[in-house]
Every structure is written in C-alpha cells, then in structure tokens.
C-alpha cells in the first residue's frame, strides 16, 4: 500500500523522531511504499494566509505550491500515518496547520453546491494510523479528553468510507517513563505497523 507518513516534532533527536523512523522502516520492510513528510524538516508554514482563506471558498482552494504538492500526495495515499507529540491534548500547531491548509475542499471533501453540506472525499484512504506520546497519564488524558485522537479518528475519519479501520498507538507518561518502557513501545510500534 502507499503510505503517507506525516511527522511533526521540532527535534530530529527526539524520541518521537525515533518512533517515526521505526514506523517508516517497518512499513518498507513489509513491502509498502512510504512517502515521508517531515513538517518541521521542510519548514512547513502552519498559518493559513488571507489569500488561502479567500481561495477556500472558490473553485480553486489550493493556491500555494507546498499545499499543492502535499494535496497531491494525500490524493494518492492508501494509508495516512501521523506521528506527533500530544501537546495540550491535541496535535502540535504545525500539524494543525497542515490539516487547516492541505485538507481543503476538493482534497479531503467536497462541499455540495446546493445544500452546502460536506461530502467525504477520501474514498481511497483505507486506514488512518496515529502514533503519539503524552506527558500525562492515561487517566488524566481521559479526564481532559484526547483532542488529537478525536481530530484524527473522528473528524478526519468522517471523510473516509464507513468501516475503514484505524490504529492508535500511544505511550502515556513519556516524561516519567523508563528506558525499558520506551524500548517496549518502539517494539510495539514496529510489530504493529509491520503487519498492516
């Protein structure tokens, strides 16, 4: 399958980067075709500009070269893989900006001209995978609600056909985790994505 792997961590030496590399290597090892999008690495702009917001309501919502390239990759992906640290119970701003700017009408969904309702546009996506780390414990994340997970597995999932599967791999309490716990999680990520 063709996998679009999206990474959103500022440091190339982070544990999060290790998770991203592990997942990509394991996917390639299983014969999948992986395209890596390192948002910090390519200095992806997070802020939707006034021109882009104006274009959003027109027939040509994509008006920036970086967005056009990413939208093209989304259009041919069978799997969307997101690897990010959970901050404020959500995706980092750079990834939020990617959703805001790239997943526009015509790319991720269509706006019905008559009713102005949203129609799903990601019929080709067979699976959404999220891999993330939390500073907080699992119980605290539950109390606060996991906004990042809801964004990807509910809001984004509404745009893929009914019944397509999702995978969520999470390490809680990463700031206080031991070396062994982190190593175990890396192995879990490796094994899980290898049998996609």
């Amino acid at each position: 399958m063709r996998v679009l792997a999206i990474h959103a961590h500022p440091s190339p030496e982070s544990f999060n980067r290790l998770l991203f590399d592990t997942a990509c290597t394991a996917l390639r090892g299983s014969g999948h075709e992986v395209t890596e999008l390192d948002l910090y690495g390519e200095d992806f702009r997070a802020v939707m500009s006034a021109d882009e917001r104006a274009a959003y309501d027109t027939d040509e919502p994509v008006c920036s070269p970086d967005v056009a390239r990413h939208a093209g990759l989304v259009g041919t992906a069978d799997v969307l893989l997101f690897v990010y640290p959970t901050w404020w119970m959500g995706v980092p701003a750079i990834l939020k900006g990617w959703l805001d700017r790239v997943l526009v009408p015509g790319v991720a969904f269509h706006l019905d001209e008559r009713t102005n309702r949203v129609r799903p546009g990601l019929g080709h996506v067979r699976r959404i995978i999220g891999i993330t780390t939390y500073g907080s414990s699992r119980s605290y994340v539950r109390v606060m609600t996991d906004g990042g997970r809801r964004t990807l597995l509910r809001a984004l999932r509404m745009l893929v056909p009914w019944g397509r599967r999702t995978t969520w791999l999470a390490l809680y309490g990463v700031d206080t985790s031991t070396e062994a716990q982190r190593a175990r999680f890396v192995r879990r990520v490796e094994e899980r994505v290898a049998r996609l």
Partner: protein
Amino acid sequence: MRALLVHAHPRAESYGAALRDAAARGLAAGGHEVDVLDLHVDGFEPRLSRAEWADHRTAGAARAADVQDHGARLQAASALVLVYPTWWGGPPAILKGWFERVWVEGVAYTLPPGAARVRPLLRNLRRLVVVTTHGSPKRINVVEGEPGKHLVGRQLRALCHPLARTRWLALYGMDTAAEAERRAFLARVERRLARPRL
C-alpha cells in the same frame, strides 16, 4: 474587568473580524478595559521552535520578545476572550500554537521537582469566554467530540482561578446560516460581553 481579547482569523474583512469588533464594542460598553491581540495582524509564529522545545523545562531563556510580551499581557488580565473560527474541531493552528508557546512553565503553571501535577499560575483569570463559529451543524460537532471546547473548558480552565467560569458562545452551521442568523449572533455576542461580569 480587564479583558485580553485574542483574535485568530486571517482575513481582515471576515465575519470573524466582525465578531472581534462586536466583542470589543460589547466589552467597552460594559465598562471593561480591553487589550486586543490580533495574532494574524501581529504575524504571530505558532510553531514551537527546536530551541523552545529543548528549553521548555527550564523556564525560558529561548523565549522570543513577542512571546514574553503576550505572557505578561495574559498575566495582567482578569478575563480572556478568544474569538476564532473552529476548524477541524478546534482553534486554527495560529491559536493552537499560541497556547503551546505562550502558556508555558513560569507563565501559566509551575511543575515543582517531584510534583505529579502542574500547579496553576493564572489565578488572575476569572472568566474565559469563547466566541466561535462552526461551519458544520451541532450534531456533527457532537460526533467529533468538540476538541476545541474541551481544550478551553478543561485544560486552560484548570490553570486559571479556581472559581473561574467559562462561557461558550458558538454559531453552529455557519456554512448554511442565513444573513439574519449571522446578524443575530453578532448582536448576542455584543450583548453578552457588555455584562458587568461577562
């Protein structure tokens, strides 16, 4: 009250900007002091930098001048009014990044060595008001689980005064809303923010 009004819409002539102006008018009419922070006008950079990330536990040598300034304004306010369009269930990236870069250790909370939980520092904030628009109808947002609402009502709220109250003013179904509905919502926002205790 002394209100910090944070606005996050890219277009100067948008309905979002009209909401910002309605909120500011209401606050002024109610005798509140208003400090307007327009993130797009200021060219705010929402991406947490590598240096900031590396520095996030050492209370801030890497903090930029605008981030420090915003932090000081946040600490001087008794009410926070957020005006933004809801995209993908939550605030636009520019506002999400504002929380990530400005609401940091030493400004919004402390985490003393050995403590299991963060301790709130923004006890000056007694009101959190959100003015937002959702393109989709309420039922879609309920299925999505309203991440933006929980971010403000639970997480930001936990770092404010223990008795702080949250007010949620939302226009759902913006994409199909009639002109009259939009005007009515502007009037409602202005009226609500003119109240003495917001």
